[in-house]
C-alpha cells in the first residue's frame, strides 16, 4: 500500500525546501527601532560562509572571462582585423591600412592611458590614501546593484570603505574576500549616504530607487531646491569624506508614501553603469602631496625664525634697559636697583620741573597766599584792569628740590620782613 509520503513526495519535498528557506530567511531579518523590518547589515557567520563559497566559485571564472574578453579584443584588433585588411587591400594599401589600424590601436591605448593617467593624477592629488581596483563582475540582479572588484583583504581593503572615481562617489565596500570585494553602489535601494545640497545646504539621505536612479528621500517640500543644483557628500555617515561630488539634482517629485515630503532625483556624477576602474579610500588620514609638504616645512622654518627674531629683540631690549640712565644706579647693589627695588610699592614720583615757573608753580612762595590780600587792600594793590597785563611774578628760578638750600627771594615780589 502506498504511504502518504510516497504518494505526495513531490509536494512534501517542495514544502520541506520552502520551509527550510523561510526559516533561513527569518533568521536573517530583524525588526528595527522604527518597527520596520530590515536585513542585518552584517552577515552572520553561516551566511557569510555561503557568500564566500559562492564568490570563490564565481570570481575565478569571472576573472577568466574578463581576461579572455580583453585578450580577444586585443587579438581582434591586432591580428584578425589586420589580416582582413591585408586581404582586402594589397600592396600599398596594406601598409596604409596597417598604419591606420596601428593608429587606431594607439589612439585607443592613448585614450586608455589618458583615462588611467587621469585616475592616477586624481589618486596622487587626492588628500586621502586610495587603492585602484578594476571591476570584474556584478550581482547579476537589478534588485541588487552591486559589483565585484579585483582587490580584497590582501590589498588591505576593509568593509565600509568608500569607493569613488574622479567624477564622484560610487558606493561602499560591503564584503571583503581575500582577492575580491563586493561594492554596494549608491543607486541600490538599500544603500545610504549622507548628502548635502551645495547651495541650499539641505541635508538628506541618498539611496536608489527601483529603476536604479539615486534619490534623496525624506525631505520636506522646499521650493528652493532646483534642478541642476550640485549634491555633495555631507560627511556624517562615517563612510564618505565630506565634500565629494555626488551628482546634480535631476528633478524634484512628490513622495508618494508621505504627504508633504519630496524626493529629489539625482543624476549621479560618476557613470555608475559604465565603470571600469574605481578607487577605494583605504585611509582617511590626510596625505599631503610633496609640494604641500614642502610648503608646510617652510612654514615651520619661518615660524622658528620669527621666534628667534623675537628672542633677539627681547634680549636687545634688556640690554637697552640696562644701559638706560636713571633705571640703573651704578652706585647701588643690584638688589637695591630701582628696577629691582620692590620694598616700596608706591615709589615717590617727582613731577618734572617747569622751565618758566610762575606764582602758580607748586612750591613757589607767591602761590602760598602770603603776598595776596583780599578786599580793598587787594584792590589797591591790584593793577589797573586796563593796564597792560604783566605777569604777577617775574620768572623765577626753579625750586630746589626738598633738602636743598632755598632759592634767594626776589626783591620786588617777596614781602619784606622787619629786621
Amino acid at each position: 500500500m502506498e504511504t502518504l509520503f510516497e504518494r505526495y513526495r513531490n509536494l512534501v519535498v517542495l514544502l520541506a525546501m520552502l520551509l527550510l528557506q523561510i526559516v533561513g530567511l527569518a533568521m536573517q531579518v530583524h525588526r528595527g527601532d522604527t518597527g520596520h523590518m530590515s536585513l542585518d547589515p552584517h552577515d552572520s557567520k553561516g551566511v557569510r560562509l555561503i557568500r564566500l563559497w559562492a564568490n570563490a566559485a564565481v570570481s575565478p571564472p569571472e576573472r577568466v572571462f574578463h581576461s579572455v574578453g580583453e585578450s580577444s579584443s586585443w587579438l581582434w584588433q591586432n591580428y584578425f582585423d589586420l589580416r582582413h585588411v591585408r586581404e582586402q587591400n594589397k600592396d600599398l594599401q596594406t601598409t596604409v591600412d596597417r598604419l591606420r589600424l596601428e593608429q587606431a590601436a594607439l589612439l585607443e591605448d592613448a585614450r586608455q592611458g589618458e583615462r588611467l593617467q587621469g585616475l592616477l593624477n586624481f589618486q596622487e592629488k587626492y588628500i586621502y590614501k586610495t587603492q585602484a581596483a578594476q571591476i570584474i563582475g556584478t550581482s547579476g540582479s537589478d534588485q541588487s546593484r552591486l559589483f565585484y572588484i579585483d582587490k580584497g583583504s590582501e590589498s588591505k581593503l576593509e568593509r565600509d570603505m568608500a569607493v569613488i572615481t574622479a567624477d564622484g562617489i560610487v558606493g561602499k565596500v560591503r564584503e571583503v574576500y581575500p582577492r575580491s570585494a563586493q561594492v554596494l553602489v549608491i543607486n541600490d535601494q538599500s544603500s545610504g549616504a549622507g548628502v548635502i545640497l551645495e547651495t541650499t545646504r539641505i541635508r538628506g539621505i541618498l539611496r536608489g530607487n527601483a529603476i536604479g536612479q539615486p534619490q534623496i528621500v525624506g525631505l520636506m517640500a522646499d521650493s528652493r531646491i532646483q534642478a541642476g543644483e550640485r549634491v555633495l557628500t555631507a560627511g556624517g555617515d562615517e563612510i564618505f569624506p565630506r565634500g565629494l561630488p555626488v551628482g546634480t539634482v535631476d528633478k524634484v517629485v512628490k513622495d508618494p508614501d508621505q504627504d508633504g515630503f519630496i524626493r529629489v532625483l539625482v543624476k549621479p556624477a560618476a557613470h555608475l553603469d559604465r565603470l571600469d576602474e574605481v578607487l577605494v579610500i583605504t585611509s582617511v588620514e590626510p596625505r599631503f602631496p610633496s609640494d604641500q609638504t614642502k610648503d608646510m616645512a617652510t612654514s615651520e622654518t619661518l615660524k622658528g625664525a620669527e621666534a628667534a627674531e623675537e628672542k633677539a629683540q627681547k634680549k636687545a631690549s634688556e640690554i637697552m634697559a640696562e644701559r638706560l640712565p636713571g633705571l640703573i644706579d651704578p652706585n647701588l647693589p643690584p638688589e637695591q636697583q630701582p628696577l629691582n627695588d620692590t620694598s616700596n610699592p608706591n615709589p615717590v614720583v617727582h613731577p618734572p620741573q617747569p622751565l618758566h615757573p610762575d606764582r602758580f608753580t607748586p612750591g613757589s612762595d607767591t602761590n602760598t597766599g602770603v603776598g595776596v590780600t583780599s578786599g580793598d587792600a587787594a584792590g589797591s594793590t591790584t593793577p589797573d584792569a586796563n593796564a597792560p597785563k604783566k605777569p604777577a611774578t617775574p620768572p623765577s628760578k626753579p625750586q630746589n628740590p626738598p633738602g636743598t638750600a632755598p632759592a634767594k627771594p626776589d626783591k620786588d615780589t617777596t614781602p619784606r620782613r622787619n629786621p
Binding site: V13, M17, L25, N55, V58, E62, I136, S139
Partner: protein, 173 residues
C-alpha cells in the same frame, strides 16, 4: 497542445545528461549572469539561472529534481547579492517544481510552448521574489514592473536559442 498521462511521458521522454553537465551549465549560467551586466549595463534583461533551471526541470520531468536544482541555483544566486539568502531560492524552487510538473503533463518539445512557459515562469519567479521581499520579509523595496516584464521576454528569447543548444548535451541511447 497534446496532454499525455504522467507515466507515459515520464517513461518515454526523460532526458539524461552527463553528471558534469548538471554542475557546469548552471555554474556557467551563474557566472554569465554576474558578468554580462558589466557589458550590457541596465539592458541585461535576462535571468540565465532561471532559464537553466526550467530547462533541466522540463528535460528531467522530475518535480523533486526540479525543486532541488531551483533551490540550489537560487541560493547560489542569492549568495552573490547582498540580500537575504533564500529570496531567489524560494522563487526558483517553485519555478523548478512548476516546470517539472507541467513538463509531465504537456508536450514541451514545441518551441512556442517552451517560450510561453518560460515567459510565464519568469513572471511567476519575479512575483514570488517580490512577494517574499514585501510580505515575508516586510522590506520596503520598490519594484520596477517594466523591468520584470523585459526580463521575462528576454528569458523567452534566450530559451528559444539556448534550449536546442543544450539539447546537444543529452545522452542518447
Amino acid at each position: 497542445m497534446s496532454v499525455l498521462t504522467a507515466d507515459s511521458r515520464r517513461d518515454l521522454e526523460i532526458h539524461r545528461y552527463p553528471v558534469l553537465i548538471y554542475v557546469l551549465i548552471p555554474l556557467v549560467a551563474l557566472v554569465l549572469q554576474a558578468w554580462l551586466p558589466r557589458l550590457l549595463g541596465q539592458y541585461a534583461w535576462f535571468d540565465l539561472p532561471l532559464v537553466v533551471t526550467v530547462y533541466f526541470a522540463l528535460g528531467r520531468r522530475s518535480p523533486i529534481q526540479g525543486t532541488l536544482m531551483g533551490c540550489a541555483v537560487g541560493l547560489f544566486e542569492d549568495a552573490l547579492t547582498h540580500h537575504a539568502i533564500g529570496i531567489n531560492g524560494i522563487a526558483k524552487t517553485v519555478a523548478g517544481f512548476m516546470a517539472a510538473s507541467v513538463g509531465i503533463r504537456i508536450d514541451v518539445e514545441n518551441r512556442i510552448i517552451r517560450v510561453g512557459l518560460i515567459f510565464l515562469l519568469s513572471l511567476l519567479s519575479s512575483a514570488l521574489r517580490i512577494f517574499v521581499n514585501r510580505f515575508l520579509l516586510g522590506l520596503a523595496l520598490e519594484t520596477n514592473w517594466a523591468a520584470e516584464l523585459y526580463i521575462a521576454l528576454g528569458n523567452s528569447v534566450i530559451a528559444l536559442m539556448a534550449f536546442p543548444f543544450l539539447d546537444r548535451f543529452q545522452l542518447r541511447d
